[in-house]
């Protein structure tokens, strides 16, 4: 009997794991001893960090997608279907089209979704660049924008923790280049008591905000948005109000509905922080945004976790035991405008220490935007 490995989700984590398994287990797959399947509702894989650049017309739509079948090693079976439910007792993933996909090992890599619907009025009055449709809509609005108050407002939890800062710095440069910075009031709000979750990044960002005349407010959590003719007001959970002419919101995120339907609260799977196995399920790994771990929901987290999950699955299948622990490693580039960037790395025990922004790091980030496909293929 072959060992069936099912990977739910073909995003960054799912693609890396599938491709690493295909390489690490190629003999077993050739001999029919191991079968690897990836299930995803999308036929194309999107490079999500490109959305930030789409807003400013610096990334073309056709450069940010690859066909899932081209991205995955040919020995992997790709199932184009939406997952309806996970049956952890029967070791089966049920799909919307009625398939029951059985597994010996399951990897849950279904990611997270921005849920503007969780804040009253946000869908109607806010702009969200975490989807391609939203990024394009915002791009059009910015083209026509002639002045007024722009508010970047961040909700929790959300993926890509540095994107709100990046878009704020880029907006500052965009309006300056357009010659209307003096007609734009740029505001930024953040849920906790500093301007970024990482204290070192917050300490660096505040003087940058002040230098660029970006107003900021902390301990501000969107509760409700009201608006008329494009302008409006945000009401916060803390009892404050902020008016806007353009609201760029980073909405709260949740895991996939299939997990919520399977009894997992908010779609965040309780996960062992070192082994990356779902609590209570020895044959289920969890990777990327969908874990409940208190670490960044980011592509780099998914990447470093995926290396561990793939290595452990290969070791389990070949030798009967997992091989190593995840140490909480995350590394993020932070664009500080259109011509400089910094980066942070940290893990469960080492706090981040950002380096001064430089052109070199910005070029590295631009380079990585192009070589990302090697990461998704499990090469880089």
């Amino acid at each position: 009997m072959a060992t069936h490995v099912v990977i739910a989700g073909g995003g960054t984590a799912g693609s890396i794991i599938a491709n690493l398994l295909a390489r690490g287990l190629h003999r077993e797959i050739q001999n029919g001893e191991v079968i690897i399947k990836v299930i995803d509702k999308e036929e194309k894989h999107m490079y999500q960090p490109a959305l930030l650049y789409v807003v400013f017309d610096r990334f073309r739509e056709d450069e940010m997608f690859k066909d899932m079948r081209d991205l995955l090693n040919p020995s992997i079976i790709f199932i184009h279907d939406e997952i309806e439910e996970f049956d952890f007792n029967a070791n089966v993933v049920r799909t919307k089209s009625g398939k029951n996909v059985e597994y010996d090992y399951l990897v849950i890599a279904t990611g997270s979704n921005p849920r503007a619907d969780l804040i009253e009025g946000l869908n109607e009055h806010g702009d969200i660049f975490y989807t391609l449709e939203g990024a394009k809509k915002l791009r059009e609005k910015l083209r026509k924008f002639e002045g007024g108050r722009v508010v970047v407002s961040v909700a929790a939890p959300h993926k890509c923790p540095v994107a709100p800062l990046e878009i704020t710095f880029m907006l500052d440069e965009y309006f300056r280049a357009k010659g209307i910075r003096d007609k734009v009031e740029l505001h930024y709000t953040y849920p906790i008591g500093r301007v970024h979750a990482l204290e070192a990044v917050a300490n660096w960002a505040v003087p940058e905000f002040e230098k660029r005349d970006i107003k900021y407010e902390t301990l501000f959590n969107m509760e409700k948005v009201e608006g008329k003719d494009g302008s409006g007001v945000i009401h916060s959970m803390e009892g404050f109000e902020k008016e806007f002419d353009l609201l760029i919101a980073i909405p709260p995120h949740k895991g996939t509905d299939a997990l919520i339907n399977s009894g997992i609260q908010d779609g965040w799977v309780p996960t062992d922080r070192h082994l990356l196995k779902a609590e209570g399920h020895e044959n289920v790994y969890v990777c990327g945004d969908t874990t409940n771990l208190p670490i960044s929901k980011a592509g780099s987290t998914a990447h470093f976790e995926a290396d561990v999950v793939a290595e452990n699955l290969i070791a389990e299948i070949k030798e009967g035991h997992p091989a190593r622990d995840y140490d909480g490693k995350v590394m993020c580039f932070i664009e500080t405008g259109f011509s400089s960037a910094t980066y942070v790395w940290f893990n469960y025990t080492t706090p981040p220490d950002p380096v001064p922004p430089s052109k070199m790091i910005h070029w590295l980030k631009l380079g990585y935007n192009r070589v990302y496909w090697l990461t998704a293929r499990g090469i880089l």
Binding site: I192, L198, P252, P294, T349
Partner: protein, 77 residues
């Protein structure tokens, strides 16, 4: 520990951090739920009570354990 206590284990979290973990969790639990945030970050012992006070939930106290803090909060609205 009573049944309606939810534990948020944010130990070793630099990003998004204990307060952000609490804000995320508090939205999805029923009113009356007690949430215990476990944190290795000393700053959270100050940040979390400050936010709780601002929003109007109930701060139940902080316990110092070996190498971490337990910050207790009750959702009241």
């Amino acid at each position: 520990m009573s049944e309606n206590v939810v534990v948020v284990d944010a130990r070793g979290s630099f990003c998004p951090g204990p307060l952000m973990e609490l804000i995320s969790k508090i939205k999805s639990v029923p009113v009356g739920t007690e949430i215990h945030v476990l944190s290795t970050d000393k700053g959270s012992a100050k940040d979390i009570p400050a936010w709780i006070k601002k929003v109007g939930h109930e701060y139940l106290g902080t316990e110092e354990k070996e190498g971490y803090w337990v910050i207790k909060v009750k959702k009241t609205k």
